[in-house]
């Protein structure tokens, strides 16, 4: 009874769907989180009677065949890289990207990671680092005795040192963009790394080459929409239930058959 296994693939797919949705909901309040979606496709078909087969010497052909499908598979869990809403925090080292682009971050193993999470801090040396302490690229060091850190829309960082009246420019934050942003690989900690699918990073300053601009004192919220996630969750749960009913039905039919012999 193939229906049993077909329904099992359906249950497995919906289980994965629920897993993806639960991760989205769990990260509803994660800064810079981008929601994922499970995409499914149908499995191979067995062509029991192939359409177009000749049925007589007069050249009559079968107008429709018998195709039995084998169920469903998960093909991808692409990430939706749409803009999250910006929420003001008032913190001068909180930076949100409005538009395309990722901050570049140096990992301890000297790889470069990319993030939309702009909740930066200062470490003991005055460098701008992420919440995990990874250094923002290009490295910008804020000198001691300085105050009023300003990051403008183009990413230029300036401070007022001591009692100066004119601000001192420290550097410019640049952004990386990818042709296939959905192809980035998430490695946790709100970080992504490049893959052959994402292509190499295109680094430029904010507002150039189609990149977004920076908004100081704001953070980008997750782009998870609670309503959509909950309705997807309901759909997934019901689909799971129905697949289990198919298994029950197939089981009943097998039972009927085995009851034939007494």
């Amino acid at each position: 009874m193939r229906a049993l296994y077909t329904a099992a693939t359906g249950m497995a797919a919906q289980e994965l769907n629920v897993q993806v949705i639960s991760n989205n909901i769990a990260n509803m309040r994660t800064t810079g989180y981008k929601r994922q979606r499970a995409d499914f496709q149908d499995l191979l078909y067995e062509h029991v009677r192939r359409v177009g087969t000749q049925t007589s010497d007069q050249g009559n052909i079968l107008p429709a065949g018998i195709d039995l499908g084998g169920g469903v598979k998960t093909v991808a869990t692409p990430r939706m890289m749409s803009q999250g809403t910006l929420s003001p925090t008032g913190n001068e080292l909180d930076v949100a990207i409005r538009g395309d682009g990722f901050f570049r971050v140096l990992l301890p193993d000297s790889r470069t990671a990319y993030t939309r999470d702009g909740s930066f801090q200062m470490d003991a040396q005055g460098r701008i680092v992420t919440a995990q302490g990874y250094v923002l690229q290009p490295g910008i060091t804020i000198p001691q005795n300085s105050h009023n850190i300003t990051i403008n829309a183009q990413g230029q960082v300036s401070v007022i040192v001591n009692n100066d009246t004119t601000p001192t420019q420290l550097g410019q934050i640049d952004l990386a963009n990818f042709i296939d942003k959905a192809g980035l690989q998430a490695i946790g900690d709100n970080l992504f790394i490049e893959t052959p699918a994402s292509g190499p990073p295109q680094v430029a300053f904010p507002q150039a080459d189609g990149l977004g601009d920076l908004q100081q004192g704001n953070l980008e919220q997750a782009n998870v929409e609670a309503v959509t996630q909950i309705s997807d969750l309901i759909a997934a749960q019901r689909a799971y239930e129905m697949n289990s009913k198919v298994i029950t039905a197939a089981d009943q039919m097998l039972q009927t058959t085995s009851n034939l012999t007494r």
């Binding site: 919906q14 169920g71 080459d209």
Partner: protein, 255 residues
Amino acid sequence: MENALLIGLSRQVVLQRELEVIANNIANLNTNGFKADGSVFQEYLMPGARSDRFIGADRRMSFVLDRATWHNLSQGPIQNTGNPLDVAIDGNAFLAVQTPQGERYTRNGALQINAQGQLVTSEGYQVLGESGPIVFQQTDHDISISREGTVTVKEANNVAEAQRGKLRIVGFPQPERLVKDATSLFAAPAGLAPQPAAASAGIIQGAIEKSNVSAVSEMTRMIEVTRTYTAVSGMLQAQSDLRRTAIQQLADVPT
């Protein structure tokens, strides 16, 4: 005597096949662009025994055969996703896709861009435009796809829009002859050539066509299948009892 058993069996085999079709539909309840399958049965009339030994003609026996599965190509519900690379097709048309096995057609519009900048399906197959694959530049952003399938982008800092091609949207004179080729793709059998889609068909960007499987009717069909299966089993059981009684009573030689 055996005939009732065999006729019942022919029905049960067909019911098992139908359950397989239903199981596949339900498994694909959440598959984008999936089209439900239905089953078609036909009666097979077997000529009866030669009638010359009987008074009156022998009745013919009627078996059941499954003749075909058909695709329900009706429009699935369209869900808004807001993702610029999700396209739903409104109307009777398909997107053309280049696979290693040749050209295939799909209604699953969850598209992506690969590292070479080409527009591809989730499986990585190129989505065909009117003049070959659609390729984006590294600096392209704000992709927009018109109802006719024209793909336009904003290039780097330019204000004007640049065109990146036009999606090839095709229709078929007899779409029911298309063969399902897994991974949400359809293959055209010999003699069925794709034609430009009717003008009424169009692309909706930022939306996706969900599976057109109707959960209610599939569940109803499933209940019908299991109940019929049980009923046929009951009939076979009765037939078997009848034979047992016959054998017992006939073997009961009066002394």
